[in-house]
C-alpha cells in the first residue's frame, strides 16, 4: 500500500516535471544518463586541502606515543561508501575528540567505487583514508600503503589472528598472509535470520543443530504454506543464493580450501566433491520450492522488505541488515549460524572486514592510521560501531564489548561471532574471489540453476572456468 502510494506520487511528480519541461519547449534530446546505477551521491568536493605533508613516523606530538594526528590542523581526505552511515558517524566523533582534525569526505556507491578507486588512488589527490571495494590489484600496483609499520607501532599483530589475515597480501598477490594493506572498521557476520513468530508456527523451538534438522524445518514451512526462505536473485543486486551455497559448502567441507580459492592461491578450485554435495543440496532446495518463484527478479532491498513484512520464515543475510530487521519486526527476528552437516561439527560463516586502507600517496598517513586504531580501541567509537554498524568492532582481545538491547537481533549476532571464531570457521565471500566472479560467474549460473538450466556439477565447472579466465586476464 505504502509502496503503491509512493509510486503514484512519484509518477505524478514525474509527469508534472516532464510536462513543465515539455511546455517550456525544451528540445529535450535523449535524457539517458551515461552514468549507471543512479548515483546521485553528492560529491563533497575539495574546498581547501593545502594540508602540510606530515612526516611519516616522525612523532613530534608530545601527548600520545606512536603515530598520531599531532596538534596542528589536519584535513583528512576520505572516500566512503554511500548509504552506510558508520564511517560518517565515526568521523564526526573523531573530530569531537580531536578537534584539530577535520574531514574532506567524498562518497559513492559501492559499484562505482570499484570503478573509480584505482583512478583516485593513482591521482595526485589521493585520499588518506578510503573504503576499499577490492584490494589485491591495488596493492600489486603499489597504490596502497604498507600498514606493517603501523601494525607494529599500535600492536595490531597481537589482536585475534583472523581479523587481520583477510587484509594481508603476500608477494604473489595471494591474500591471507603477508603484508598488511587494510584494516576493518568492523567485522560482519552472516548466517540465517528467522521470523520468530513463523518459526514457532512450524514448531521450531531452538535453532537446528544439523543441516538435516534445518532441511526438516524447510519442509515443514513449505507444507504449512509459508515461504520457507526469502532471498534475492536479480542480476541488479547479484544472486543471493551464493549465501546459502557457501554456507552449505562450509557445512560439508573444510573452510580452508574455500578461503584458498577466494584468496586465489595457485591451483585452488571450487569444483571439489564436497562443494558438489553442497551445490546438490541447494539444487534440491530450489526444486522443492523453498525459494520465491520470482527470485530471479527480486532485488536485495525487495527481499529485505518482504522478509520484514513477514514473507519468509528464514533468510540468509549478514548483520549489516540488523537495524532494518529490528525496525521492521522489532523483537521478532532471531539469528543462528548455519548448522554443520553432523551434530557436534564446527560452525562456519562468511565474515568479512569492512575494509579501509590508506593510499600510498596519502598526505596524512599517520593520522589515518591513528584513526583506524582509534576505531577499534576507543570505547565511544566501539559503541558507535555496534549501534550503527551492527557488527563486531574487533580490536584487542580484552576490549570491552559495548552493551546492546536484549532481544535485539544485534545481541544474537554478536553472541554468535565468538562461536564461529572459536571453530576457526571464518570465510570471506565466494563472490569476492575476483572482482567480477559474482557478476560473470555466480549470478548467471545460479540464475540458470533456478530456471532448471544448470545442475550442481555444471554450476561449479562453469564458475571455475570463469575464475581461471579472469585470473588469466589480471
Amino acid at each position: 500500500m505504502n509502496k503503491k502510494s509512493k509510486f503514484l506520487s512519484f509518477a505524478v511528480l514525474l509527469v508534472l516535471v516532464s510536462l513543465i519541461l515539455a511546455a517550456c519547449g525544451t528540445p529535450a534530446t535523449t535524457a539517458a544518463p551515461a552514468a549507471p546505477a543512479a548515483t546521485e551521491a553528492p560529491k563533497a568536493e575539495v574546498v581547501a586541502t593545502e594540508v602540510p605533508a606530515t612526516q611519516p613516523a616522525a612523532t613530534e606530538a608530545p601527548a600520545v606515543a606512536g603515530p598520531n594526528c599531532g596538534t596542528d590542523a589536519v584535513v583528512l581526505k576520505a572516500s566512503f561508501e554511500t548509504g552506510f552511515d558508520l564511517p560518517f558517524k565515526l568521523a564526526e566523533e573523531f573530530t569531537k575528540q580531536y578537534p584539530n582534525v577535520t574531514w574532506d569526505i567524498s562518497q559513492d556507491q559501492f559499484a562505482n567505487l570499484i570503478n573509480s578507486t584505482p583512478l583516485v588512488l593513482a591521482s595526485d589527490n589521493a585520499p588518506d583514508l578510503l573504503r576499499l571495494p577490492t584490494m589485491v590489484s591495488f596493492a600489486k600496483d603499489g597504490l596502497l600503503l604498507n600498514l606493517d609499520p603501523y601494525a607494529t607501532a599500535f600492536g595490531w599483530n597481537d589482536w585475534p589472528v583472523p581479523q587481520l589475515n583477510q587484509n594481508r597480501i603476500d608477494a604473489d598477490g595471494v591474500r591471507g598472509s603477508g603484508t598488511l594493506y587494510a584494516m576493518g572498521l568492523n567485522y560482519s557476520l552472516t548466517g540465517i535470520f528467522y521470523n520468530k513468530a513463523l518459526a514457532a508456527q512450524i514448531g521450531m523451538t531452538e535453532p537446528p543443530k544439523t543441516v538435516a534438522e534445518f532441511e526438516d524445518l524447510l519442509a515443514k514451512a513449505k507444507a504449512a504454506g509459508l515461504q520457507p526462505i526469502m532471498m534475492w536473485g536479480s542480476a541488479k543486486s547479484g544472486m543471493g543464493l551464493a549465501f546459502p551455497l557457501q554456507n552449505l559448502m562450509a557445512a560439508y567441507g573444510p573452510v580452508g580450501p574455500i578461503n584458498d580459492w577466494i584468496y586465489q592461491k595457485a591451483g585452488a578450485t571450487i569444483d571439489t566433491p564436497e562443494n558438489l554435495i553442497a551445490a546438490q543440496h541447494l539444487e534440491q532446495w530450489i526444486k522443492n520450492g523453498y525459494f520465491p518463484a520470482d527470485i530471479n527478479a527480486i532485488e536485495y532491498t525487495d527481499a529485505a522488505a518482504r522478509f520484514g513484512k513477514g514473507e519468509g520464515v528464514f533468510t540468509f543475510n549478514g548483520d549489516w541488515q540488523n537495524a532494518g530487521y529490528d525496525k521492521d519486526l522489532p523483537g521478532n527476528v532471531g539469528f543462528f549460524l548455519m548448522p554443520p552437516a553432523e551434530a557436534g561439527g564446527g560452525y562456519a560463516a562468511m565474515s568479512a572486514p569492512l575494509t579501509f586502507g590508506i593510499a600510498a600517496k596519502a598526505k596524512n598517513p599517520d593520522c589515518a592510521a591513528f584513526f583506524l586504531n582509534w576505531v577499534a580501541t576507543n570505547p565511544e567509537a566501539r559503541k558507535i560501531d555496534v549501534a550503527v554498524g551492527g557488527s563486531n568492532p574487533g580490536g584487542p582481545v580484552d576490549a570491552e564489548m559495548p552493551a546492546v538491547a536484549a532481544g535485539s537481533v544485534t545481541a544474537e549476532t554478536l553472541a554468535a561471532g565468538p562461536v564461529m571464531g572459536a571453530d576457526g570457521g571464518a570465510m570471506d565471500f565466494i563472490a569476492n574471489a575476483t572482482s567480477s566472479i559474482f557478476a560473470q560467474g555466480w549470478t548467471p549460473e545460479l540464475q540458470k540453476m533456478v530456471a532448471g538450466q544448470q545442475d550442481a556439477a555444471g554450476l561449479l565447472k562453469a564458475v571455475q572456468e570463469e575464475y581461471e579466465r579472469e585470473i588469466a586476464q589480471q
Binding site: K3, F7, F10, A11, L14, V15, S18, L19, L21, A22, T26, A28, T29, T30, A31, A32, P33, P36, A37, A38, A111, I114, N115, P118, L119, L121, A122, S137, K140, D141, L143, G233, S234, A235, K236, A293, D294, I295, N296, A297, I298, E299, T434, S435, S436, A439, Q440, P444, E445, Q447, K448, V450, A451, Q453, Q454, E466, R469, E470, Q473, Q474
Partner: protein
C-alpha cells in the same frame, strides 16, 4: 571554384576549431586509443602488456561475450522496427485526425519517456513487470492468469520485456521526428487525395510512407544503433540477467572494463561492436541516398 578567399577560409576554420578540438579529444582520440588498447592486457592503472590478437580470440571463444551479439540483434526488432513502424502509423493518425491542441498533447505524452530519467523509468518498469505488478494484474483480470510470471526474471521473456521498455522509450522520438516530416509534405497532396476519396490506408501507403524516406532512414539509423550498442535500458532493467539472457555487448564491455578491469578485452569487444554497427548502418544510409537520388 574557390568561393572563399584564404582569409575567410582561415576565419571559418577558426570558428570550427573549438568544435574540432572537442571532437578530436573526446571522439577521435578515445576511438584510436580503444583500438590500441585492444592489443594489450591492461588493468587501467598498471603496466601494459602486448598480447597481439589474443583479446579478439578470447572474445570469440567465450560464449558469454560473443553470445551477447545475438541478443543485440533481437533488440533491433524491439528498439528499431516496431518504434519506426508504429511511429509512422501514430504520426499519420495524429496528422489526419488530431490536429491542433489534441495532436500537440498526444505528441507531448509520447515524447515524455525521452525526458524521464531512465533510471527512474527502470525502477517503475521493474514494478510493472514484477510478479505482483500491474502487467500481471491486468493479465489475471482478463483471464490470462496462467501465463503470469516475473517477466524480467524469466529466461524466455526477459529480453522481450526489455524490448517493450525500449519501444516505450523510442516510440516518442520516432513519432515526433516523423510528425515533423509529415508536416513538411505539401498539404495539397493530402487534400487532393481526400477529394478523390482516398482512405487513411491509401493515403498512408501512397503519400506518407514514400515521402518520409529520409526521416525513416534517420529513425532507423538512430534506433538500430540504440539497439546494437544498447547499455542504459538493459542496465537499469535487468543488468543482463537472468543468466546472461539479456546481456548485450555494451553491458559486457562495461563489466569487463570497469568491474573486471580487463581494459584490453573490453576494448577488443568494443572494436568488434563498432565494426558490427558500421556494417549494419552503412546499407541503411546507402538505401536512403539511392532512393533520394531516384
Amino acid at each position: 571554384m574557390s568561393k572563399w578567399s584564404g582569409r575567410e577560409a582561415i576565419i571559418g576554420w577558426l570558428f570550427a576549431l573549438p568544435a574540432l578540438l572537442m571532437y578530436a579529444v573526446f571522439v577521435l582520440l578515445p576511438f584510436l586509443l580503444t583500438i590500441v588498447y585492444s592489443f594489450y592486457k591492461w588493468n587501467g592503472t598498471g603496466p601494459m602488456t602486448w598480447v597481439g590478437l589474443k583479446n579478439y580470440v578470447t572474445v570469440f571463444q567465450v560464449p558469454n561475450l560473443i553470445g551477447t551479439v545475438s541478443n543485440a540483434f533481437w533488440l533491433v526488432i524491439w528498439f528499431s522496427f516496431i518504434p519506426v513502424g508504429l511511429g509512422l502509423v501514430v504520426a499519420s493518425v495524429i496528422h489526419r485526425l488530431a490536429t491542433g491542441r489534441f495532436g500537440e498533447i498526444a505528441r507531448t505524452v509520447l515524447f515524455l519517456p525521452q525526458v524521464i530519467a531512465l533510471v527512474a523509468a527502470g525502477i517503475i518498469w521493474g514494478w510493472l513487470f514484477s510478479l505482483s505488478g500491474l502487467v500481471n494484474q491486468i493479465l489475471k483480470f482478463i483471464g490470462l492468469g496462467a501465463i503470469t510470471r516475473a517477466w524480467l526474471g524469466d529466461f524466455d521473456w526477459a529480453l522481450s520485456a526489455v524490448g517493450i521498455i525500449g519501444i516505450w522509450v523510442l516510440l516518442g522520438f520516432c513519432t515526433v521526428l516523423l510528425s515533423t516530416g509529415i508536416s513538411k509534405i505539401d498539404p495539397a497532396l493530402f487534400e487532393s487525395a481526400r477529394i478523390d476519396g482516398a482512405s487513411w490506408f491509401t493515403e498512408f501507403f501512397t503519400i506518407t510512407v514514400p515521402l518520409l524516406r529520409h526521416e525513416v532512414s534517420v529513425c532507423l539509423t538512430v534506433t538500430v544503433i540504440a539497439a546494437l550498442a544498447a547499455f542504459d535500458i538493459v542496465y537499469v532493467a535487468t543488468a543482463g540477467g537472468p543468466g546472461n539472457s539479456t546481456a548485450v555487448p555494451g553491458l559486457q564491455i562495461y563489466i569487463l572494463a570497469f568491474t573486471q578491469r580487463a581494459v584490453g578485452l573490453a576494448s577488443a569487444l568494443a572494436v568488434i561492436l563498432m565494426t558490427l554497427v558500421i556494417v549494419v548502418i552503412i546499407p541503411i544510409q546507402r538505401l536512403s541516398r539511392e532512393e533520394s537520388a531516384q
